[in-house]
Amino acid sequence: MKNKSLLLYAFAYLAFLYVPVLVLPVFSFNDSQFIAFPLSGFTTRWYGALAGDSAMQHALGNSLKVGIVTALLSTMLGLAAARAVTRYRLRGAGAALGFISLPLFIPDIVLGLSLLMLLGAMGLPLSLAAVVLGHLLVCVPFALTVLIARFEGFDRNLEEASADLGEDGWMTFWRITAPLMLPGIIASLLLTFITSFDEFLVAFFLSGTEATLPIYIWGQLRFPERLPMVLALGAVILAVSVVLVICAEYVRNLGVKDRVVGA
């Protein structure tokens, strides 16, 4: 009885999460400039318009560049820092961890604006590099959290055994640490890439003339006649991310099976 009402609640909650998101694909196939009911017919012309929009493609390219560089850098920084706090007993490690996690507790608008002021004071131009720096602030704490959990999750005796058997530090890293860390590294890359790819406010202040995809979308929202095309873009992002996430989970599960067989 109680389980039934909980199940019912779960489906109602799922509907609350999905209905607004389904607005994107529904209106992206609607044959009208106006985003209103009733629907007026099926069309794929908004997707055609999207494919032919060079400003969108340029912004997409910028976002991919920023996202990939941010993901690689924040995962590398996170990997080194996570190793330092989990494998060494360092004085002040807690304070360092707190400092690195600080951006989680500061509103994005303050992060973006303070960087904007610093660049201005140093006479540096706004650019995609500045956006990457801002995104590192947001992404490194995420990467660190994921990677620390992974470091704590595997048996450090394996590393010691490798050292005892005569491997040097570098070989131990490549043959023991890296393979065991791989799921964490992939999770960190994915999480930081998605965060950077979707980040608007920091990029809004730091990108200058080079728009990223969220900035492009923000610009389009002012033009009612461009909206169906923007919704088509949202539907495409949704579809691609769903496929990516399912693939990532599939790969992760493969890893789990291998380990079970190996053991």
Partner: protein
């Protein structure tokens, strides 16, 4: 001695991240603090130091209203989001047969643009939107309702939707960690289901609830996109005011002071909340 060498290695691993964060976080915030003590003169800053900007931030009634409103909206958003997410996370942790399926299903809506998720609510709540046209078709109303969009209510609904995953996942993780034998023991010793929930499950899941609340409260207080798109004049929040100081009227010292005051305010409220929630959880046990 060998230990010192090992420690140096550890500090070496930590150094790059600290340098980057120092450069991108500490230096900009320090500069922001310095700028907030200046005043705007023409396109540059005045020579001396002044607390005028802080006087304006704390003194002007319209600014105080925006601070108050931002905190109030965020607090309601946090409360609503956590309260709605808790039963959902509870269901997945304790009753769902295919947990993995549910977790994926619950996160998929968050894999599209934040801007467009917020914008979708404008379409739903709007004058010709989903709700209005649906109600009109059912002949429940003959004029579209104008009260759905451009107010604090719209901001709360939109943010509660946009940040749902940040509530579900931490709460789920803390519920999942609870040792099931504790629950059996409580039942065996005669606790009713409700009493068992209040004395075991809820206190033990508090870390997840507190984590979720902080993860939602901090960013939503400073949110810019949602009040801009669905807030209207009555739903304007502090981030909108800050943005105008930088992009609109060009008063950087005032913008800096507003930023620092809102940052401090959020930190103090979040800190007080965490401390009192921890104390409350302990008292129940």
């Amino acid at each position: 001695m060998a230990d010192n060498g090992r420690n140096a290695e550890g500090y070496g691993l930590l150094a790059p991240t600290l340098v980057v964060m120092g450069l991108a976080l500490a230096a900009p915030l320090a500069l922001m603090a310095i700028t907030s003590l200046k005043d705007q003169s023409g396109i540059g800053f005045g020579q001396g130091w002044t607390l005028d900007e802080y006087g304006a931030v704390l003194g002007r009634a319209s600014y105080r209203l925006l601070f108050l409103r931002s905190v109030a909206i965020s607090a309601v958003v946090t409360l609503v989001t956590v309260a709605l997410a808790y039963p959902m996370a509870y269901f997945v942790a304790f009753h769902a047969r295919r947990k993995f399926f549910w977790l994926v299903a619950l996160t998929i809506p968050f894999w599209t643009s934040y801007l467009l998720r917020v914008f979708a609510w404008k379409i739903i709540l709007g004058f010709n939107g989903v709700i209005n046209s649906g109600l009109m078709r059912l002949h429940l109303i003959d004029q579209p309702l104008g009260v759905l969009l451009y107010n604090p209510f719209a901001v709360v609904v939109t943010l509660a939707h946009a940040w749902a995953a940040f509530a579900i996942l931490p709460i789920y993780v803390s519920l999942e960690k609870i040792d099931r034998s504790l629950l059996e023991a409580a039942s065996d010793l005669g606790d009713s289901a409700l009493r068992r929930f209040l004395r075991i499950t809820l206190p033990l899941s508090m870390p997840g609830v507190i984590g979720a609340a902080v993860l939602i409260f901090v960013p939503t207080t400073g949110d810019f996109v949602t009040p801009s798109l669905v807030g209207g004049p009555a739903g304007t929040m502090i981030a909108n005011l800050i943005e105008v100081q930088f992009n609109g009227v060009g008063n950087w010292p005032l913008g800096a002071a507003l930023s620092l005051v809102s940052m401090a305010m959020v930190a103090v409220i979040a800190g007080l909340f965490v401390a009192s929630a921890r104390a409350a959880a302990k008292a129940v046990r």
